[in-house]
């Protein structure tokens, strides 16, 4: 369309301004078109000896391919994959090397052949306009009109309207079916397996943890009791409920007055799922009390409710309120009070 509005400078004037109907002013090229490079006669065209050499080179490259194929076949037999995993290494290496040679030999040989021995002449082809010629365009309109009059599409209103209706409705079943793919998300992003009284157990054994087991400076990787026995969605549940348990000197803890009851004798439990994009945050430094996420280096301060001290995470790690039961095992007071993991729209 813009092409229509373009006021072309005449060809004879050479590099004149071209104005578009818009605001853009297209300045003339500062650098003159150097035109085509002068044609260089190849060595292989000048000297028959060079051509002969090139022929031998191409043949040699094809022979490399032949050797590569045989080598690959030999390597497959000579380095079998056995029970021992380390045999995979030699097998893959030599088989791959042979196949690489066999393919590259053909490819490089063919290109070398084309570049050195096949006819060497240059062709210039002008670029055509995208727009068709007036005749072609008129003919196209003619064809459409003919089809319309023969099918009676404009004339037979009943057929036309029912066809519109059918076309409008046919995607509906697909929309309904796609809409029902999988169960609705519901509240699953806000809830985890933790509830009041769930024991904190060791990952992966599921052995419950006594408060007295958690010595100063210790780190426990924790899953909720019963996770290992789940028949379905075990990994999904683990991905939400994974917790890191740390015991700090109580004097080091700087607790929010509203959350003082959430720890037990210096033992604190935090979600292991980074609030940035959900990597497991578990690089705990015993003396700085920093928790580092290995993916993007978000750093959380365990002494201050895991507030973010560095990196792209926007929110502190959610804290799991904990307590002990009558037998001295650590239990959760409730589920997390906020959704774990990365932010999402409705949070």
């Amino acid at each position: 369309m813009a092409g229509k509005d373009l006021e072309k400078g005449s060809e004879a004037e050479g590099f004149e301004h071209e104005f578009e109907s818009g605001l853009a002013v297209i300045p003339p090229d500062k650098i003159k078109d150097p035109g085509l490079e002068p044609h260089r006669v190849r060595m292989t065209d000048k000297f028959p000896k060079k051509a002969k050499n090139a022929e031998v080179q191409v043949a040699a490259l094809f022979m490399v391919s032949v050797v590569g194929s045989f080598f690959a076949l030999w390597a497959y037999v000579a380095f079998p994959i056995t029970e021992d995993l380390s045999t995979v290494r030699a097998n893959n290496l030599f088989l791959g090397l042979g196949m690489t040679l066999s393919l590259l030999g053909i490819g490089i040989g063919a290109v070398h052949w084309a570049k050195t021995l096949m006819p060497d002449f240059e062709v210039t082809e002008a670029r055509h306009q995208t727009r068709g010629s007036e005749e072609v365009r008129a003919r196209a309109v003619e064809i459409v009109k003919l089809a319309d009059s023969e099918s009676g599409f404009s004339r037979r209103k009943l057929i036309r309207r029912t066809l519109y209706g059918a076309l409008a409705l046919f995607p509906l079943p697909a929309l309904i079916v796609f809409g029902d793919l999988g169960p609705p998300v519901g509240n699953t992003l806000r809830q985890t397996m933790w509830k009041a009284g769930t024991r904190l157990t060791k990952d992966p054994t599921g052995i419950p943890i006594k408060a007295s087991d958690v010595t100063l400076g210790s780190v426990f990787h924790v899953i909720p009791e019963g996770l290992s026995e789940l028949k379905e969605h075990k990994l999904e549940e683990k991905a939400k409920a994974a917790v890191l348990l740390v015991r700090l000197n109580q004097l080091d803890l700087k607790e929010d007055p509203e959350k003082t009851g959430w720890s037990y004798d210096g033992i604190v439990a935090y979600s292991k799922i980074c609030t940035h994009v959900g990597c497991p945050v578990a690089l705990y430094e015993q003396h700085t009390h920093h928790l580092l996420c290995p993916c993007h280096q978000s750093t959380f301060d365990v002494t201050e409710h895991c507030k973010v001290v560095f990196g792209p995470a926007a929110r502190p790690l959610p804290q799991l309120p904990i307590s002990v039961d009558a037998e001295g095992y650590l239990i959760a007071q409730s589920d997390f009070l906020e959704p774990v993991g990365p932010s999402f729209w409705e949070r």
Binding site: R40, R42, M43, T44, L85, S86, V88, R89, N92, L93, V111, K115, T116, D120, K202, D203, P204, I209, K210, A211, S212, D213, V214, T215, L216, G217, S218, V219, F220, H221, V246, N249, Q250, L251, D252, D265, G266, P280, A282, L283, Y284, E285, Q286, H287, T288, H290, L292, P294, Q297, T299, F310, S323, V324, D325, A326, E327, G328
Partner: protein, 262 residues
Amino acid sequence: MKNRFFRSRRKPLAASLVIAAGLLFSGGGYAVATNVVTTTAATEYTAEQISEGRKLFLANCASCHGLNAEGTAAGPSMIGVGAASVDFQVGTGRMPGQASGPQLPKKKVQFTDEQILLMAAYVASLAPGPAIPEDKYLEATGDATHGGELFRINCAMCHNAVGAAGALTEGRWAPNLDGVEAKHVYEAMLTGPQNMPVFNDANITPEDKQDIITYLAYIEENPSAGGFELGSLGPVAEGLFIWIFGLGLIIAITVWLGAKSN
């Protein structure tokens, strides 16, 4: 390094007793002891060993750790750190430290095995603490599969899945575990040297620690089946390699394809 941990241990014990009393009063609580690490009675070492160890301590360690191992501003208290700590720190050459920095590096060991044992005896005599592990847990005869699982859960986030080391914050790092003696691996888990957290016997039992040692021995003996590991450092090393050599090769071939024959 360890001073905050140990120097202040007695205070939280008192605090925990107060809290425990409160919990008992409310009917739902349970008293908690803050320490269940493996301990050695000082009597395992002779009085002569202890006094010889004290001499070595005074000559080599006391300037930072205090004349009575009570700790100074330059170094933490040694009371209660146990023989395992001394054996690890001195046995890997980390102690005596050369210069202060984000982390004390592993270096040439400065003492003989016997001298290390004497110093360990002296430190163990000060207060109960983690002992040097028994030899039966140090043989790589455990379950490497279970050890691998425990390693991936408890260790791999810092040390890398095959123990190839990893970066921490502000210049600290989790060292490479290749070639580290089984004894030192065990002691590191038990004592939590420098910024490494403690993995006591309640968390990872001695048998589990042996499985982890077995896993580390297995990956040392068996090279990666996938070929050239590039240091097993993962996406950074691999990405750099493919960006430079893979893309370089593709660009070279493209240039050759477009170039005219001479």
